[in-house]
């Protein structure tokens, strides 16, 4: 058997150039083209649907704005109809499932499938090196799905334009604000950022759980939890809310809470105690008390005001849409980078 001549000098190892990063492009495409094609098909079909629905809705809205006199009930109905077209899209929540799907079916399997089928023993012993392999794959796929999500969110912005148009009387009923939880993440940089975060969650879940189906389920749970927590609790604290005692908060502002005060002390404005208080104070005068025939019943707020209460409203003004977008996009980007870094770190230190 031949005796080998080996480069025994460490200098020769140091000059050993790593396999170029660009070689991972074909590898990533070839291994994930089914997932990427699926993402493209999903977003493509969605784009066609949103575009067609959008054309109809924009047309209905244009008809409504042309209606005269604008304040007549007939015109109001036209606006209402325009706003309520396409109930699936109207609230925006349904579209928040798209990042979840991308995280579940493009993100979670990247590592989970390698672990489940044992192919990581092949992939991680090639010359490319396993942490570079992981980083290259995750970053390339993340960039692609994020860019695709960013592109379709431009279409969403166009679709929802009439909702935020300044003189849309029907908005008084639906209280749409660009900061409203269903619509905020669909526009600006929000949708791309949520898609990136869902993908990164999927990648880490796959590495931690090592099985495809449980990793998909965990990705959905983590994404949904994060989205609900952000929309329900976190987002309203990005900047200190403004507070007003005027009855009508500025148009299209996002009202985050309301409360009553009397003589400088705060009263409960929500729930059973508010109802009890209202009944206690107002039942006599509001519920058709004798001596005031024909007078319409008082609204709770009016009743409280009559009794010396002040109503306070805290809100986020419309002008904070972009600051909020950058704040949310920024922390989601940082979170995603952290999750991807954690995944790469786990791959690097994992004991087979």
């Amino acid at each position: 058997m031949t005796t080998l001549t080996m480069p025994a000098h460490p200098g020769q190892d140091a000059s050993l150039r790593p396999v170029p990063w660009r070689r991972m492009a074909w590898v990533t495409w070839r291994q994930h083209r089914v997932a990427l094609t699926g993402v493209a098909a999903l977003l493509g079909a969605l784009a066609v649907y949103v575009w067609i629905a959008g054309l109809q809705m924009h047309h209905a809205y244009a008809t409504a704005t042309a209606c005269r006199p604008l304040t007549s009930p007939a015109c109001g109905n036209l606006f209402l109809n325009a706003n309520q077209m396409n109930p699936v899209l109207a609230s925006g929540y349904a579209l928040l499932a798209v990042p979840a799907l991308i995280g579940m079916f493009a993100g979670a399997p990247v590592l989970a499938r390698e672990m489940e089928t044992g192919t990581f023993r092949y992939a991680w012993t090639q010359g490319f090196g396993r942490w570079r392999w992981t980083l290259a794959k995750l970053v390339a796929l993340a960039v692609v799905v994020t860019a695709a999500a960013g592109a379709i969110s431009v279409l969403f912005s166009w679709y929802y334009q009439p909702y935020f148009a300044a003189r849309n009387p029907a908005m008084a009923f639906s209280e749409a604000s660009p900061l409203t939880p269903g619509l905020f993440p669909l526009r600006g940089v929000g949708f791309a950022a949520w898609t990136l975060a869902a993908f990164a969650i999927g990648g880490l879940a796959g590495m931690l759980i090592r099985r495809v189906v449980p990793a998909i389920a965990a990705t959905l749970a983590a994404y949904a939890g994060l989205a609900v927590a952000t929309g329900g609790f976190l987002r309203q604290h990005y900047l200190t809310p403004l507070v007003t005692s005027r009855l009508n908060a500025p148009v299209a502002a996002w009202t985050t809470s309301q409360w009553l005060t009397k003589d400088g002390s705060r009263s409960p404005a929500h729930g059973d105690r508010a109802i009890n208080l209202f009944q206690h104070l107002c039942s006599a005068s509001a519920l058709g008390a004798p001596g005031s025939p024909g007078k319409p019943p008082l609204s709770p707020v009016q009743c409280f005001l009559q009794h010396g209460y002040t109503q306070w409203t805290s809100y986020q003004p419309t002008s904070r849409f972009w600051p909020f977008q950058w704040i949310e996009g920024g922390w989601l980007l940082a979170l995603s980078a952290l999750l991807i870094a954690a995944t790469v770190w786990l791959v690097r230190r994992r004991a087979a």
Partner: protein, 303 residues
Amino acid sequence: MNVVEASGLGKRYGGTWALRECSLAIPAGHVAALVGPNGAGKSTLLNLAVGLAAPSAGGVTVLGGRPAGSPAALNGIAFVAQDTPLYKNLSAADMLHLTRNLNRRFDQASAQARLAELGIPLKRKAGRLSGGQQAQLALTLALARRPRLLVLDEPVAMLDPIARHDFMATVLTAAADDGVSVLLSSHVLAELERVADYLILLSRGRVQVVGEVDDLLASHRMLTGPAAEADSYAERPVVHVRRAEAQAHLLVRATADDPVPPGWEAHPVGLEELTLAYLREPGAAALPGPARRGDAEPSEVTQ
């Protein structure tokens, strides 16, 4: 140069040591066989050597002192894992392309020629190849990387005899023609007799026997004599005692020049026989240099 060198190497999973205090040096230019019962730590040792696992204790270097799993180590080692994992939905041609992209060297021409010789269609998906063809494809990918060390974990366990023979023939050709050092683990002792010229026997997570096959065979003898005298034999260390009727067979550590007691006959041993004897006596050890463990008293196995 040593292709694998371990000192005090240990690997713990949870509270259990899969491998412990493993010290060995496998010189280049051998087909080294790693044998041992299930759970002896064979896969663990191979995973540590190729850098898939990180040691809990001690260290392991490959290809003359390079840390296992380092870029230089990955560049020079090709590993075919147990059950030869391949991407089942990729074609053979795609697997070639994939492996070429993931490595600095890749001999596409020889890989294609080998697959053609084996009759493996380039367009067929890996998942639709037979077990033998999958193993051959994995081996072809590994050899096309022009490794200096080829590591195979139970490569033939799932193969039928013909596929097994063909697979090992490819390995031996690579070792002979290209000077590739080979480290393979296997249960199939009969196969090893034919291919291995270096033996590492693991037992209960420790190295029990290590050395060149020729040296090991030259330093062991099978003595056959009256069963009644088996217990009083004390001239050379006894590894294993096997009794059959009136006769006893003693595997002893002795060379051909050592004197044979009157009434006893000495025979050379084969690799399979030697390996089996040590597998049956986990307490016995044959290690080079100053013995790290005393030769334990053999227990008797009556036939």
